[in-house]
Symmetry: C2
Subunit: 213 residues, 2 copies
Amino acid sequence: MRHAGGTGELAVLLWQRALDPQAGAWSLPGGLLHEDEDLTTSARRQLAEKVDVQEVSHLEQLSVFSDPRRVPGPRTIASTFLGLVPLPADPQLPPDTAWHPVSALPEMAFDHGTVVRHARTRLAAKLSYTNIAFGLAPDEFSMSTLREIYCAALGYQVDATNLQRVLGRRGVLTPTGNTAPSGRTGGRPAALYRFTDSTLRVTDEFAALRPPS
Amino acid sequence: MRHAGGTGELAVLLWQRALDPQAGAWSLPGGLLHEDEDLTTSARRQLAEKVDVQEVSHLEQLSVFSDPRRVPGPRTIASTFLGLVPLPADPQLPPDTAWHPVSALPEMAFDHGTVVRHARTRLAAKLSYTNIAFGLAPDEFSMSTLREIYCAALGYQVDATNLQRVLGRRGVLTPTGNTAPSGRTGGRPAALYRFTDSTLRVTDEFAALRPPS
């Protein structure tokens, strides 16, 4: 998933099935696990080979979907992943592949719509107790850009001042010392920030339950 | 996993392998997925059939372990689960099966030690932003019992007053109106509580990011 620059929405990368079953429906990128690779290696390989996405800032396992009747034919168990592509990366895509707003999915193949909704729910939950937004944000950003990313990923409006206050208190953001050029309306140039960490951590630990330091 | 009443430790249920490979080493309960069941159904079946555990208060998927060399012989992918057994349940166990303190595991088969440490880390993390302790606690408990459960699961001491304050503020606990009989030291009878919910929920949402109500 990524924050789509143009529409400002959370978007998911899908490819359109050319053949039956379910020709024309849209699928998540994926494929069979090779004998000599583990699932994470396989997920990265599928993204690189099938949809030419190399730049994945965060990849984590989601649920395994194992209903015996989830796809026609031989039983197939889907071990799913949430992968994030940061702004402003905009990988070249093969012609049968496109980013779709998560809030307006096309006709989805098999249980892939359920998988996308599950991924979005996980992402929204993790935005509230981890620094996972590092995976969607550019290296350096204004609070107004970060707010747009949070709003899109959560699916509702959040206040930039509150966001800055909470993330600041948790040490999630570090000011870079740079400022963005003034926008069309003039005014003070916006301070730029980066994420303090670029790997996932729980930022909202239960204060009363923190380990002794 | 459960909170072992006697030793007051977080304990994991293991069975000792009678045959090679790795005869004598201890394994997590598990087995092969049947053609007609999904993974969650299978996990509950294995617990009931193999170690006779019926009373599981919470069951959630953990990681999938998929290193091609994780076990000898044909490739086997392990989809792992965290299952919690509440106090005071103490299921009858088959003779080759026993609860072991998570902090002092015996010689473990294959990568099962890694799986247990992973499960414990997940449980400790979830204690800080969810109500997952409902899965370990009895129906009704004093704050002092709940504190013991948290200390054992986290592996370090926490303060009962802080615990009560934080869980109270989050609406996680509900007073039952009952009190525990006074202990040997006399003093005021302890108030008893229950968990408000008996299914998992994130209790520590990012206040600034809450959906509009």
